[in-house]
Amino acid sequence: MKRRTLLGSAAALVASTALPAWAQEEKLKVGFIYVGPVGDGGWTYQHDLARQAVEREYGDRVETSYIESVPEGADAERAITQLALSGHKLIFTTSFGFMDATVNVAKKFPDVKFEHATGYKTAENVATYDARFYEGRAVLGTIAGRMTKTNKIGYIGSFPIPEVVQGINSAYIHAKKVNPDVEMKVVWAYTWFDPAKEADAAAALIAEGVDVFMQHTDSTAPLAKAQEAGAFGFGQASDMSNFAPQPRIASIIDNWEPYYIKRVGEVLDGTWKSHGVWLGIGDGEVVIGEITDAVPAEIKAEAEALKDKIATGEHHPFTGPLKKQDGSDWLAEGQVASDQELSSMNFYVEGITAPMPK
């Protein structure tokens, strides 16, 4: 039923090609769309660090610009279009919620290349990239499992989406491996960034007897709470090193620099191709920040050994035998989870008693 699009489709081609190209310059203009402010100290901050790294790497050959705090939806589509219109030939859209907007704009600008973070829709000129955060969570889970005295570890979830569920499962599996008595407590904050609420979430975990917890939300508030209570926590997204050596005993860092530098380079030399990649510790996209001296040397060594095994591909964090929370079989002995299965994960593994939010 094309009744109401009739007028649109015919004129669309004419008009979009007639749009003026802003400027013809030698430099490659690279644009970034951020979902938060660059000063959020977490997700967006890390993307912006990588943008600066691109500028450092290529100097005069590139020019970067960004638009921050772009709401998902209509505003995102406009912001992306503005970047494309102003001569940006490579555009990174750095939030899942920009997915449909990115794809829509990409259709209108076939000669502009788009990189969308954490989504699943690709096209000739739209690539997707994501990080295997669960690999890093395996390392943190190992440390947490060893460091807990109460045998209760915690996880502050943002939203019950596959990425976070993977993290919880991975952390739990590896904590359990080194400490069979460990229990995992999960609290969903339903926000990526709300310091006061994250602090409350941390306090709730601590009150439940948790003494080591991980967070999948972006502020340092949970670490501040951990400090008050003498508990341990981990840096999230960025290193959060000013809470080291404790309560922050290690961190999981999103490092987009290698990927951004590589992809900008490919556009510069004309070898860029669309793809959907999911990079992890081995590619330097997920980095484990310094494990502090609050962690005994042998635990530190164990965690680093695990990290190395994941980096080389020797160990996959989701390796069978594993059952689902309801006791049904998931992975047989030696079998590893497929990427497809992971990317829509909505169940806990066996042993986690927390209910999965519906």
Partner: protein, 356 residues
């Protein structure tokens, strides 16, 4: 010393002059701010106010003004009726969200059916949802005397949480890999609200906004209802003698403004936004309050104020992109513009006299 003397009617000259004065004042003070931060003030002001209209990519940004201003104008029209009558609906944001949810619900229930009636049914559902959400404060005020300002504001929070609940629960896209958010209605032809003419920025929401402007103008200046509304706002007691029934006026104003906000939400969810997400309400309902006031509760003023607000949003994005101006600077600039507009407004309503 000076004193203020209320004017019997606002002179047209001042009504036109004050917004211009306010914009100029904002440019001067804002320019100073930009200069203090090390940005070229002239370039910044040109990028914000000029480029979206006449700059190199204005072919794209001009229609976008319409996309951004459409919902603001549509909502502000409804609000203006109530504000004139002294009925303060500040919960348009909630009515906007509920309208979108109701409209989207129709589409999602019908999916993937392809039928002509789906979009009209969505429009009805969107308007009805917004109307119902607006009627809650109306009924509570009429029956119990509860303040509609506060009830409508509380209902915004409730609506926001319903949107989050919908995005994670009942409306979650079954093919969305367990990510929150409904199906994208842009990709469902029978329910989509696309541009009517390519690159015009005009979708059904824009059409509705124009109709709402015309209707508001007609009601306010040509219809007995407009007289009732103005009387009720200016002199509630006199209005009673003139046969105005305040309960009906409350229900009417809140209901109409709710329905218009609901429509704005529906057109947005079926068009530019595409889907119900956890953060669907993006503040249009609150910004529309500002638009209504900037427009002096007059249709023509609302049209211009809506476009001006849209201009600062789009120009602000351009300034970020072209000049690396932080988003915060643009926010400050907008705040300043509002302060000046609200402040200078006194010149239209009062005469300043030197105290004898």
């Amino acid at each position: 010393m000076f004193r203020l003397e209320p004017r019997a009617s606002a002179p047209l000259a001042w009504q036109v002059a004050t917004p211009i004065l306010a914009v100029l004042a904002t440019m001067i003070v804002g320019g100073g701010l930009f200069a203090a931060m090390g940005f070229d003030p002239l370039a910044a002001i040109r990028t914000i106010f000029w480029d979206p209209l006449f700059g190199p990519a204005s072919g794209y940004s001009r229609p976008q003004l319409l996309v951004k201003a459409g919902p603001l104008i549509l909502i502000a029209c409804g609000l203006a009726l109530g504000f004139r009558a002294g009925i303060w609906n500040i919960g348009a944001e909630g009515q906007y969200i509920i309208g979108a949810i109701c409209g989207a619900a129709v589409a999602l229930a019908a999916y993937p059916l392809d039928a002509f009636w789906i979009f009209p049914a969505m429009i009805l559902a969107g308007a009805a949802g917004g109307w119902a959400w607006g009627m809650v404060p109306a009924v509570l005020r009429n029956w119990f005397g509860a303040s509609e300002i506060l009830v409508s504001l509380m209902l915004v929070y409730v609506a926001q949480r319903i949107a989050a609940w919908m995005a994670f629960g009942p409306m979650k896209n079954p093919e969305g890999f367990n990510f929150p958010g409904s199906r994208n209605l842009q990709q469902y032809d029978a329910a989509a609200n696309p541009e009517l003419i390519a690159n015009s920025g005009l979708h059904w929401g824009g059409v509705a906004a124009v109709l709402a402007l015309a209707a508001t103008w007609f009601v306010m200046s040509r219809h007995v209802l407009g007289f009732h509304i103005r009387t009720a706002g200016a002199a509630p007691r006199a209005a009673r003698f003139a046969g105005v029934r305040p309960e009906r006026l409350v229900a009417l104003c809140l209901g109409v403004s709710g329905a218009l906000a609901g429509l704005a939400g529906l057109f947005e969810v079926a068009g530019p936004a595409g889907q119900i997400t956890e953060s669907f309400g993006s503040g249009y309902g609150f910004t529309a309050i500002i638009v209504a006031f900037l427009g002096r509760l007059h249709p023509l003023g609302i049209l211009l104020a809506g476009l001006l607000m849209a201009l600062t949003y789009i120009g602000g994005e351009l300034a970020q992109m072209m000049l690396n101006l932080p988003a915060a600077t643009v926010q400050v600039f907008q705040g300043m513009l509002l302060f000046f507009l609200l402040g200078f407004d006194i010149l239209t309503r009062y005469r300043i006299r030197r105290r004898a």
